[in-house]
């Protein structure tokens, strides 16, 4: 890895650090989501369940991702930008497990809901985006980070597809179709608001691991239509309409 003073991150504009700070927030959530998933899977399938162990490992790996993001964010001060004073340890031990989906679902259905939402949809999208990000990132801490995260996201995505395959052998899983639109909408629409302005979004920040919104949208759309939807269709799960799928943007 290049020394600090030679790392391309030293030349990054401020929006780069803003994006990575937002990413860290999401990775904190991932720590708790996978921890909750690991617990649910263990309760369902027993303490020796391999998928539960993968989910627990995923939680630990997401914690490492928080560390990667923190390291990048710390460069903001070195690069001369105002530092957002964040918690030194954003992942606190007292934080509870996070859960997704309606309360009304049974434990086994709730587990599948989380697996599809987190792994099949979000982590699969993450994998596709990170592949492109890796292609464009400059050598240094950013590229190193993306490479490590991508390696993990592949495993995290597989957790959901594994659980879906397993549950489909013992019961119908197509009830998930009812919730699919909302899951996808949540995956592609942040509830913390826009991070970059329209002007900033037109900058080429790919060296620092940030794709242009139009490019990201293309990849998301492509992955939804050609990987995630066909994957879910294998198990009889289909989106009710294409209303929430992102429209493929025209290149500008």
């Amino acid at each position: 890895m290049t020394e600090l003073k030679n790392d391309p991150l030293m030349e990054a504009p401020e929006p780069v650090f803003r994006v990575w700070r937002a990413r860290r927030t999401v990775e904190v959530e991932a720590v708790h989501l996978f921890a909750g998933l690991a617990r649910s899977l263990k309760e369902l399938w027993g303490p020796k369940d391999e998928v539960s162990k993968l989910a627990q490992l995923a939680s630990e790996e997401e914690r490492e991702h928080v560390g990667y993001c923190t390291k990048i964010i710390d460069y903001a001060e070195v690069a001369g930008y105002p530092v957002h004073v964040a918690s030194e340890n954003p992942v606190t031990d007292w934080s509870p497990y996070l859960e997704l989906g309606p309360k009304q679902l049974s434990p086994i259905d709730k587990t599948l809901y989380a697996c599809v939402a987190v792994s099949c949809i979000t982590e699969t999208l993450s994998t596709a985006l990170l592949i492109e990000m890796l292609r464009k990132a400059s050598p240094g801490i950013i590229r190193h980070t993306i490479h490590n995260v991508l390696t993990d996201e592949v495993k995290h995505s597989r957790i959901g597809w594994a659980e879906l395959a397993r549950q489909s052998k013992i019961k119908k899983v197509n009830w998930i179709s009812f919730y699919l639109d909302q899951m996808i909408k949540s995956a592609i629409q942040s509830d913390i608001g826009p991070i970059l302005t329209s002007e900033e979004a037109n900058l080429d920040l790919s060296s620092w691991g940030i794709l242009r919104p139009q490019e990201a949208e293309k990849i998301i759309s492509n992955t939804l239509r050609n990987v995630i939807m066909p994957g879910l269709a294998k198990y009889g799960i289909a989106v009710s309409s294409n209303a929430h799928l992102p429209i493929q943007s025209n290149a500008q």
Binding site: R21, R23, T25, V28, E29, A30, L44, L54, T92, W94, S95, E99, L100, P102, K103, S106, I108, I121, T122, T124, T127, A128, L129, L130, I131, V154, S157, R158, W161, A162, L164, A165, R166, Q167, K169, I170, W175, Q182, M183, K185, S186, A187, I188, S190, D191, I192, G193, P194, I195, L196, T197, L211, P213, A216, I219, I220, V227, P230, G231, K234
Partner: protein, 81 residues
């Protein structure tokens, strides 16, 4: 990576992780999907109204109600106004 390769890597790769016959401790599934599910409030201990919105991991409506999340945001794209 081409779509087909990604499909094989993730969807099929994931399915292959499961070899043994399934036998869940809890197999009492929801009888029917709820036709009009209402978002149930999620008790979220880590929600802190004194923290900036982006540091919270639960969502609070303008009326102050904490609502459950339907999914998990993919942060590797880019949000913009």
């Amino acid at each position: 990576m081409k779509n087909e390769k990604l499909f094989q890597l993730l969807v099929i790769g994931g399915a292959l992780l499961i070899n043994q016959p399934a036998s869940a401790h809890e197999t009492n599934p929801t009888e029917q999907p709820v036709e009009s599910p209402e978002l149930a409030p999620l008790v979220c201990d880590i929600f802190d109204p004194n923290k900036p919105a982006e540091e919270n991991t639960c969502v609070q409506t303008s009326e102050g109600e904490i609502i459950v999340k339907d999914g998990f945001y993919c942060c590797w794209g880019t949000a913009c106004s």
